[in-house]
C-alpha cells in the first residue's frame, strides 16, 4: 500500500473544522443549513441554506476570491466562478436518490486510483449517521465507515453516483475515505 497522502481530519482537525463553522455561520443559520462544503485539507467548513447564500457567504466571509462574471451563454445567463487547484472529491446526501441536505468535500487534487487512501475525513457530529447516498468525484473510489478516521464497519468502494449506499451503511456513516 502506498503511503497515505493526506493524513488529515483526525479529531484535531475536526475540532478546527467546528471552529471554522462557528466563524462562518451563526448558530441560527447553522440550524437551517442544508448545504455544507468542507476543505478536506484544512477542515474548514461552511453550511448554507441555498446556493446563492453559500456563494455570497463564501465571498464575504472566507475571503476567497470567487471571480464572478455574468456571461450571456447559449442556455441563458450564468455566472462564472474561477477556482484554484481544488477539486470536488465527493458529495454526500442525507436521503436516498440525492435528497435532503448535502455535504461536499473538496481537496487539492484528483484521486490516484490505486489501492491507497488519498483522503479521509470524519464528519462533524451533526452529519454522522445521516448519509444515505453518495457521489465520488475526481476519479475517486469512495468508502464509508461507521467509526471515525476510517475505522469500524465499512462499505465500498463506490465508484459511481450511488443513490442509495445500501442497508449496511445507511445512516451509519461517521467517516469517509477516498482513493
Amino acid at each position: 500500500m502506498p503511503p497515505v497522502r493526506r493524513p488529515l481530519c483526525s479529531a484535531t482537525v475536526t475540532a478546527v473544522s467546528v471552529m471554522a463553522v462557528a466563524a462562518l455561520t451563526s448558530p441560527a443559520r447553522a440550524e437551517t443549513a442544508q448545504h455544507c462544503v468542507a476543505d478536506i485539507d484544512t477542515g474548514a467548513q461552511a453550511c448554507f441554506a441555498t446556493f446563492e447564500e453559500a456563494i455570497a457567504e463564501a465571498e464575504e466571509e472566507t475571503g476567497r476570491t470567487l471571480e464572478q462574471q455574468r456571461r450571456s451563454l447559449d442556455g441563458g445567463p450564468a455566472s462564472l466562478l474561477a477556482a484554484r487547484a481544488d477539486v470536488i472529491i465527493g458529495t454526500y446526501f442525507e436521503h436516498e436518490n440525492y435528497g435532503g441536505a448535502t455535504f461536499t468535500l473538496y481537496g487539492d487534487g484528483l484521486c490516484r486510483g490505486g489501492d491507497g487512501t488519498d483522503f479521509w475525513f470524519t464528519f462533524p457530529p451533526e452529519w454522522r449517521n445521516t448519509i444515505s447516498a453518495a457521489q465520488p468525484w475526481a476519479t475517486c473510489a469512495l468508502w464509508l465507515h461507521s467509526g471515525p478516521d476510517g475505522t469500524g464497519d465499512r462499505d465500498g468502494p463506490y465508484r459511481e453516483n450511488t443513490p442509495y449506499v445500501g442497508d449496511h451503511m445507511n445512516d451509519r456513516t461517521v467517516s469517509t475515505t477516498l482513493g
Partner: protein, 205 residues
C-alpha cells in the same frame, strides 16, 4: 502534478459545493472562458473523464395542457360518446439547447448517470397514442386535452482534460434536462365540451 480547475457555475454548484479559492491562472483566463455549451460539446470527445453528477432528486411535474386530436361535433339529436383518436409526442429539452443523444457525447454521460442513479432509462422522446371517448350532448363540441407527466434532472458535469483547456484541466458545468416519463399513470387526460357556435352548427350536415 497539481491540476487546476474551474467552475462554470450556476445553481448546481450548491450541491456540488462552492469550490473556489484564490483565482490563479483562471483569473487571467476569464476573457477566454468557455460557455457551458462549448464545454459539453467536448464531453467524451476531448475529455479523459466526463461524468454527470445529479444535484438532487428527480423532479416530476406536469407539462402545460395542450389539445390533442381533433374536435368532435355532435350534430345528432341525442347524446353521443364520440371517439377522439390522438397522438402526442413529448421530447426532452435542456438548459444549453443542445441536442441530447444518448448514444454519444455529453448525452451519453447524462444517460449513463441517469440510469445509474434512478434505475430508469432516459427517454429523449415519447409518443403516446390513444382513443378517448368524449360524451357530448346535441349541439356540443368535444375535445381532449392532455397534460403529460414530465421529469426534470439537474446537476453538474465534471470534465477532465488531458491538457489545459481555457487554462484548466478540470471544469464543472451546470446542466438541467427535462424529458418525458413514458407510460406514466399520472398523465392527465381531460374530456371537454362546449356549445357549438352558430357557424359550427350551420356546418352540421
Amino acid at each position: 502534478m497539481k491540476r487546476t480547475s474551474a467552475v462554470l457555475c450556476a445553481a448546481a454548484v450548491a450541491a456540488a459545493g462552492a469550490v473556489a479559492g484564490p483565482a490563479t491562472a483562471a483569473h487571467a483566463d476569464h476573457e477566454n472562458s468557455p460557455t457551458v455549451r462549448e464545454l459539453l460539446e467536448l464531453c467524451n470527445v476531448a475529455t479523459d473523464v466526463c461524468v454527470f453528477h445529479p444535484g438532487g432528486e428527480r423532479e416530476l411535474f406536469s407539462a402545460a395542457g395542450r389539445v390533442v386530436g381533433s374536435e368532435v361535433f355532435n350534430c345528432t339529436s341525442g347524446r353521443q360518446d364520440m371517439a377522439v383518436a390522438w397522438s402526442d409526442t413529448t421530447s426532452q429539452s435542456n438548459s444549453v439547447g443542445l441536442t441530447l443523444s444518448t448514444e454519444a457525447g455529453f448525452g451519453e454521460a447524462f444517460s449513463v448517470s441517469y440510469e445509474q442513479s434512478y434505475q430508469r432509462t432516459w427517454t429523449t422522446s415519447h409518443t403516446e397514442a390513444q382513443t378517448t371517448f368524449v360524451n357530448t350532448g346535441p349541439g356540443e363540441v368535444g375535445w381532449v386535452e392532455r397534460r403529460p407527466r414530465m421529469q426534470r434532472v439537474h446537476g453538474t458535469y465534471e470534465l477532465h482534460f488531458p491538457d489545459r483547456r481555457w487554462g484548466h484541466y478540470v471544469w464543472y458545468a451546470p446542466f438541467t434536462a427535462e424529458g418525458p416519463v413514458p407510460g406514466s399513470a399520472d398523465d392527465a387526460i381531460t374530456q371537454n365540451v362546449r356549445p357549438m357556435t352558430d357557424a359550427e352548427r350551420a356546418a352540421c350536415p
